[in-house]
């Protein structure tokens, strides 16, 4: 079969048209891929911004919590000590030498205790420093105040050779711990709190158990407020972690936060 010149020329023309269409699709593909790249870049920037905002919020909450503790301590502890000092001083009768000596000794003791309390408060006021000393140390420091209330039996176990997380992750994890403890104080009516901070396969695991009233997890999560549980889950996810909440009404609760790749 012989192909005519006209047919060959038509074939060349057709091939050229196809050869023109191919680069067009290629250019469209490159442009569309580039648009997706832009979308990805915008999403990354947005995620970074959200993380920074959330971190700032967390830092402010840690400070707020510190100020609350200071306010309670000033009112319940130092305030009482100073009132007692004033009352003791006003009851001093300079003619009664024996009692005066005793009362002055009491005033001295009260003043010393007040100084000690003020020193402790001063340490607490440096909220950011608490976290920078390491998570275990910060948790210990926070629990010190809880132990002094004598309302709870507090047990804290932790790995002494725990690797340090980066600052942002530690701040968020510490704030999660504060939120959980606040929830226990406010809602759980517990008498014992057990805290474990361990490192397993490179992951940091913070587990807080109480023997309080417990609650229905699904119901709590379905409520909009959800006792800050949604916030816990969201913030854990923000640092690539998970928050697991287990609770049985009447039998207490356990909250486990796991942060991988320590």
């Amino acid at each position: 079969m012989q192909i005519s010149t006209k047919e060959v020329i038509s074939l060349i023309g057709l091939t050229s048209v196809i050869f023109l269409i191919a680069p067009m699709f290629l250019i469209l593909y490159v442009l569309s891929y580039n648009r997706r790249k832009k979308q990805h870049r915008d999403d990354t920037i947005l995620m970074q911004k959200n993380f920074e905002t959330e971190l700032l919020k967390t830092q402010m909450e840690v400070q707020e919590q510190t100020l609350k503790t200071v306010a309670y301590d000033l009112h319940d502890n130092i305030g009482q000590l100073l009132s007692l000092t004033t009352i003791t001083l006003s009851s001093v009768d300079v003619t009664d030498t024996k009692n005066t000596a005793e009362k002055l000794a009491l005033v001295e003791d009260l003043t010393m205790r007040s100084i000690k309390e003020v020193k402790a408060l001063s340490r607490l006021l440096h909220g950011e420093e608490i976290v920078s000393r390491g998570l275990a140390s910060a948790i210990n420091f926070e629990l010190e105040w809880l132990r002094r209330s004598d309302k709870f039996e507090v047990v804290f176990n932790y790995d002494h050779d725990l690797s340090q997380l980066d600052n942002a992750k530690e701040t968020i994890l510490f704030r999660l711990f504060q939120e959980i403890i606040n929830n226990i104080i406010q809602h759980a009516r517990a008498t014992a709190i057990h805290i474990n901070l361990n490192q397993v396969n490179g992951a940091c695991i913070l587990e807080i158990t109480d023997n309080g009233t417990g609650f229905n997890v699904e119901e709590a999560l379905s409520r909009k407020s959800g006792m800050g549980l949604h916030n816990m889950v969201k913030r854990s996810a923000m640092i690539n972690g998970t928050a697991s909440i287990r609770s049985t009404p009447g039998k207490g609760s356990t909250i486990t936060i796991q942060i991988p790749n320590l």
Binding site: I9, S16, L20, A22, V30, N34
Partner: protein
């Protein structure tokens, strides 16, 4: 009127665009477009002059032009690859291979025709160079607004031209044989007109993008 064709018109417009938008460009690579496009226009007009007035074959002028075309286009691709640390040895290797092929073909045809095989090989290499540029852009994690990227549109224009002309280049001898009499209505004439319009439009737009980038 023979001097005013679609080819010469688009080339002259593109030269004017280069002159207006690249005149004050700080990059020598972009600035060289002005003399290169001037040379392109001169070659085209010289080709017409030889064919219509001197009544001689105009392939020698296009053979010489091919050297400049390859030299400049290859250098410009190399300039575009530079941010990606492309080694200069590949450019030198390509120049050497091209010259060897060019001289070999010239000797083979006794200096009496157009070096069509060399031109075809050059087109294929430029198509690959354009594809490699796209690959680098796709691989690059940094985002660049390609719609306003001068280099992207220059490469796209080059890809359209060199890829689109592949079929014609491969059958150049065949077409020259059967269409020499009626060149002005031939398929080769139509295809090259379309390719010229696309490439020079893309290049003119690239020069505008470059101008805006500089501003």
């Amino acid at each position: 009127m023979a001097y005013l064709s679609i080819n010469t018109f688009t080339e002259c417009i593109c030269f004017l665009a280069a002159f207006v938008f690249l005149r004050k460009d700080k990059s020598p690579a972009w600035k060289i477009f002005i003399p290169f496009l001037l040379l392109t226009c001169a070659t085209e007009l010289g080709g017409i002059y030889m064919r219509h007035h001197l009544r001689v074959n105009n392939y020698p002028i296009y053979n010489i032009y091919l050297l400049f075309e390859c030299g400049f286009t290859s250098f410009f691709f190399f300039y575009l690859y530079r941010p990606y640390h492309y080694p200069v040895k590949w450019l030198i290797t390509w120049y050497t291979a091209f010259l060897a092929l060019y001289l070999g073909e010239l000797i083979h045809i006794n200096f009496s025709g157009f070096v069509s095989v060399t031109a075809s090989v050059m087109s294929v290499v430029f198509v690959l160079a354009s594809l490699y540029y796209y690959y680098l852009k796709l691989k690059d994690e940094r985002f660049e607004p390609l719609l306003y990227s001068a280099s992207f549109w220059w490469v796209s224009g080059a890809l359209f031209f060199y890829f689109g002309s592949t079929a014609c280049n491969n059958f150049l001898d065949y077409l020259a044989k059967y269409e020499s009499i009626t060149y002005n209505n031939s398929i080769r004439y139509i295809i090259f007109n379309v390719l010229d319009i696309i490439m020079y439009t893309f290049w003119s737009y690239a020069f505008i993008c470059r101008y805006r980038q500089r501003k």
